[in-house]
Symmetry: C2
Subunit: 209 residues, 2 copies
């Protein structure tokens, strides 16, 4: 009787562990410099297991982008319902602003962002995936939230897609660029980020009264 060559499928837990641990290796070595040996070792799995789960390094990186984009997007989806009950425009925009800043300024997202920007010329499909699965979906969620606030007459938002992008940009342009460029030496403090959020909320609400 032949021994079956079928191997047990990779568990979701092991897959998640490989994804979780891969980011630090990519950050440390760069995408090109990270070897599948190191990526497997970081997750305490064999290289074979890594190949079975993701095909190759690009497959692992693509799965990492999907996972991290979902981690940012998923908490936005329920906000649309929240907007139907929120009491004031100020409270609504503050909720959207704080959630955006907290999720998008997280260290993991900023690290992944740097990696994808670095590789988007060589691997345009990875940049496009990040754009479509990250930016486009979060922007659409914010725009839906603003549409609800417009329908409830709490704010006037005739161009919700553009206004959603403005809100994100007002909040994130400086904190995000600071992380990308000067962040290693001068991270933005929680107090500075709170000032950016306060000012952004106030300006956005005034612009849409």
């Amino acid at each position: 009787m032949m021994v079956s060559k079928e191997r047990p499928p990779i568990s979701a837990e092991k897959r998640a562990q490989m994804l979780e641990k891969s980011l630090a290796v990519f950050v440390e070595r760069g995408y090109v410099g990270a070897s599948t040996d190191e990526l497997a070792a970081a997750a305490s799995v064999s290289k074979q297991t890594l190949y079975r789960a993701f095909g190759d390094k690009e497959g692992l990186f693509e799965a990492l982008i999907r996972t991290e984009c979902d981690r940012v997007y998923d908490p936005f989806a329920p906000l649309v319902e929240e907007m139907r009950d929120v009491e004031s425009a100020e409270a609504a925009i503050r909720r959207l602003a704080e959630q955006s800043a907290r999720l998008i300024m997280s260290q993991r997202v900023q690290q992944l962002r740097r990696l994808v920007i670095a590789e988007a010329t060589r691997f345009p499909a990875l940049g496009e995936l990040y754009w479509e699965r990250g930016f486009v979906r979060v922007s659409a969620s914010l725009a839906q939230c603003l549409t609800v606030l417009d329908e409830r007459r709490l704010l006037r938002v005739p161009q919700p897609a553009l206004s959603a992008q403005q809100l994100a940009g007002m909040l994130l342009w400086i904190p995000s660029n600071r992380t990308m460029f000067a962040g290693i030496a001068q991270p933005m403090s929680a107090g500075e980020l709170a000032d950016v959020i306060d000012a952004g909320v106030a300006a956005f609400v005034r612009a849409h009264r």
Copy 2:
């Protein structure tokens, strides 16, 4: 009589030529992959000339960052005077917005931006230089312009530094991220950028009436 070993100094023109041509090589090869052989060949100079002018590859890249940051910043400086004569808040903000979008969304700036972001972990000094010489100075210029508009009572801008960052973010967040991530496949059209500018000007003016 000994032949003098002194060589003629590198002309400003030749220096500028090396800087001008280096960006395409860095974009093509990545910072790490670009060799001084290729960088010298691209500018039709000897490797010795390149070393004499910039010391090494990092010196050349640093000089490139300085030059490109100045190219963006220099046209902002005269805007403060313009703000003293501009007729309306709308015209003033449109002038600032169009100048910001045109300069910062230029292909050279966006290419350099990607390169610096990719290397800022390994070479933090380059990221900090870009931040200080690019962002900080342009933000300060915009803030000065807004202060003039506040003094002239065309707008109310009690926090000019934060408002300057908001204006830049409203205009640049989406176009810039689109270039960084999806830009290779889906560049933003002139018409789409014009819509972003129109909406940004209108929202900023309403927020600061």
